[in-house]
């Protein structure tokens, strides 16, 4: 059922992109992953993903900035955040990205089945 769904994953932790990629692939998603947000942005092809999953706390460019840069390239992009930061996410989101929907955030740690459930929800929406 999800065989044709494509996902872009950006997280600066190689272990996390690897684990998430394996999980998603097991459930039939096609995954592109990057540890460097700048590389992810420069290689981004509009319309080629059903869902983009971004970490927030990353060096060089944080997830919020990447969100807006991808949106500029591809206004229809379906983007969500997968983050382990609490205060960072709370305060920063409120201050600068208040317009972002709270439901766009998936909180780490999360087990694989829950993660898949959340992702399927995001793709339906």
């Amino acid at each position: 059922m999800d065989n044709n769904k494509r996902i872009l994953l950006v997280d600066d932790e190689p272990d996390l992109t690897q684990v998430s990629t394996l999980t998603l692939e097991y459930y039939g998603f096609k995954v592109d992953s990057f540890n460097d947000p700048q590389e992810a942005l420069s290689k981004y092809k509009p319309g080629s993903y059903d869902l983009v999953i971004l970490d927030i706390k990353m060096p060089k460019m944080d997830g919020f900035e990447l969100y807006h840069k991808i949106k500029k390239k591809d206004n229809n992009a379906n983007i969500c955040f997968l983050t382990a930061s609490e205060l960072y996410y709370e305060e920063f989101r409120k201050k600068e990205y208040g317009a972002l929907d709270r439901n766009l955030f998936i909180r780490k740690p999360i087990d694989n089945e829950e993660l898949i459930k959340e992702i399927k929800k995001m793709i339906k929406n």
């Binding site: 600066d12 932790e13 272990d15 996390l16 690897q18 684990v19 998430s20 394996l22 999980t23 097991y26 706390k57 990353m58 060096p59 382990a84 930061s85 609490e86 205060l87 960072y88 780490k108 740690p109 999360i110 087990d111 694989n112 089945e113 993660l115």
Partner: protein, 584 residues
């Protein structure tokens, strides 16, 4: 009135006598002729003249011998008090503040002298035996006598330090301004100034008072303290002055406390007299309290109301204690504000810590949780997955260890298990371990101590020293993409005293990485100082605490002082172990 050389006491006349000899002769005749009474009124120099010049002194004592009833009025001061005590032996003596006239009346005659000089003979004397003058002058004397206070009381006041001084109300704004400036200029040791409002400060700045205060400090070494409400403008004006004063006291090098202090009081003196008065206290001897009538006026003269000058000790001391009380209050307020700010900063740091710590804990937890869930889907990749789990479990372990260490350090329960060991050997083994870990990278680890095989003993907690070395090496590796990381080990004598030669061991770790960011340099060894996206910024704080607990020091340098990215060196020292037979 005619001037003759010899006064004639038989008929009514008034004469002026000149010259030492003649005046002395006239005075003595006047004194010796009295048989019933002798009333003398004279200024503060008179006691020294009559007691200091032998002939006059004898004349006065003779009055007593002849049982002439005498009464003297003079201005008793600290300077003439000893002469006055002698005068009490001869006559009834009273004190009158600031008395200026010099005259004497007996039942026979009247003499007056315009000028008196301390302990010298009189140069010019007026003599009269005209009855009308005698009567009239007797009234003058009686008036003064009735207003004067007994000498015993005044002497006691002076000797016990009770100087009632004078208190004067001044109404003319121009006079107040003159006095204000005069008082500041006259200060010898201390000026205290309390201003009620910011406008008052600005008005006084405009007429040059603040500049005068600066001068008093820099030129006359007067200690100046000001209590003033402040805003940005006041702050800026004060900063200019303080920088000048501080610079000067630095030039004159050291010790002397800063002579110019300001309490920027944020105290609101609501609905008290303090909102309307400026208080000036000079040398703890004089005070000037100036009321303001209209604080909105720009000009000092227009804004000033009644003022009270005083040099009376109780009054001045009262204002002094008001000033000191407010000074303490302002100081406490300032300390409280600082403490509150520190608390806030601490609170912010704690929240930041929780934020970073939770992120750092959740990341490996996510990896472990996700990877272990994958084991059942990918049994064929078990080895690879277990390696991820182990790596992240170790990361968690390190993090938890660090957090516990910080807790131990901060609660001062870090316990060292000291033993004697060869730090040279320890360094070699740590390097071997790290060589293994960096074998696939572009980094070469170099032990610059290899050639020297002499053992170097320290008495330290081996595990903690390994922890420090590992931490420093990991940091060096983290910030070095390629190049060399070297460790050097030296022994130095730091106390070159023959009896007590102390040795210390110096360990340096030098990398060729990106160097230490200037933004972080000054707080490098404090908590949460991290330039890395992986790491919580506790490592160097823990290293510093461990080294300090051993009695050593730790410091950092960039290899290129111009800030070119040619790596950094972190060095720590440990006291060398005491000499033991067979070692060292």
């Amino acid at each position: 009135m005619s001037a003759t050389n010899t006064p004639n006491f038989n008929s009514e006349k008034t004469e002026v006598v000149y010259g030492f000899e003649k005046t002395t002769e006239a005075i003595m005749k006047f004194l010796n002729s009295a048989e019933v009474s002798m009333d003398i009124c004279a200024d503060y120099t008179w006691p020294s003249v009559v007691m200091g010049v032998e002939v006059y002194k004898k004349g006065l004592y003779d009055l007593k011998t002849r049982n002439v009833k005498s009464r003297f009025v003079t201005d008793i001061t600290k300077d003439n008090i000893e002469y006055c005590k002698e005068l009490i032996q001869i006559s009834e003596l009273r004190h009158l503040d600031g008395i200026k006239g010099n005259f004497g009346i007996s039942e026979k005659g009247y003499t007056a002298s315009a000028t008196l000089q301390k302990a010298t003979l009189l140069q010019q004397v007026i003599y009269s035996n005209v009855k009308a003058i005698l009567e009239q002058q007797q009234y003058v004397f009686e008036t003064l006598w009735s207003k004067a206070k007994p000498a015993e009381q005044k002497i006691r006041e002076i000797e016990e330090g009770i100087d009632l001084g004078e208190t004067e109300i001044i109404q003319s704004p121009e006079k107040i301004l003159d006095l204000f400036i005069h008082l500041i200029k006259s200060a010898k040791s201390e000026i205290l100034l309390m201003l009620p409002t910011i406008n008052a400060f600005l008005r006084e700045e405009r007429i040059g008072i603040i500049e005068l205060l600066k001068k008093s400090t820099t030129e006359n070494d007067v200690n100046v303290r000001i209590i003033t409400p402040s805003n940005d403008v006041v702050e800026k004006l004060l900063q200019n002055i303080e920088s000048v004063v501080v610079k000067r006291s630095q030039q004159e090098n050291q010790k002397k406390e800063k002579g110019f202090e300001v309490q920027h009081s944020n105290i609101q003196f609501k609905e008290t007299a303090m909102t309307t008065v400026t208080i000036l206290v000079i040398d703890r001897k004089e005070s000037l309290v100036m009321e303001k009538t209209d604080d909105s006026k720009e000009n000092f003269i227009d804004a000033i109301g009644l003022s009270t000058y005083s040099n009376s000790e109780p009054t001045v001391m009262s204002y002094l204690s008001i000033f000191e009380g407010l000074w303490r209050q302002a100081k406490l307020y300032e300390e409280l504000r600082e403490a509150n700010e520190q608390l806030k900063a601490h609170d912010k740091m704690q929240r930041e810590f929780i934020n970073i710590a939770s992120h750092e804990m959740k990341t490996p937890t996510q990896a472990i949780l996700g990877t272990s869930g994958l084991l059942k889907y990918y049994p064929q990749r078990e080895d690879e997955l277990i390696e991820i789990i182990q790596r992240n479990a170790k990361r968690l372990q390190t993090l938890i260890g660090n957090i516990l260490d910080v807790t131990r350090i901060e609660s001062q329960t870090l316990i060292l298990n000291k033993e004697r060991f060869d730090i040279s050997k320890l360094i070699s083994s740590v390097i071997e371990d790290y060589k293994d870990r960096t074998k696939d990278s572009n980094i070469e680890l170099v032990n610059k101590n290899n050639n020297n095989s002499d053992p170097i003993f320290v008495e330290a907690d081996r595990d903690r020293i390994i922890q420090v070395l590992s931490n420093l090496l990991s940091n060096a590796i983290k910030f070095t993409n390629q190049g060399e990381i070297s460790i050097t080990l030296n022994e130095k004598i730091y106390d070159n005293n023959e009896e007590d030669r102390k040795k210390e061991v110096i360990v340096s770790i030098t990398d060729t990485g990106s160097g230490i960011d200037s933004e972080i340099f000054t707080r490098l060894f404090s908590k949460f100082a991290s330039k890395s996206y992986q790491g919580i910024g506790l490592g160097l704080f823990i290293c510093k605490s461990i080294i300090q607990a051993h009695g050593g020091r730790i410091w950092a340098e960039n290899n290129d002082i111009n800030g070119n990215k040619s790596g950094a060196t972190i060095t720590f020292s440990l006291p060398a172990a005491a000499k033991v037979d067979g070692y060292n």
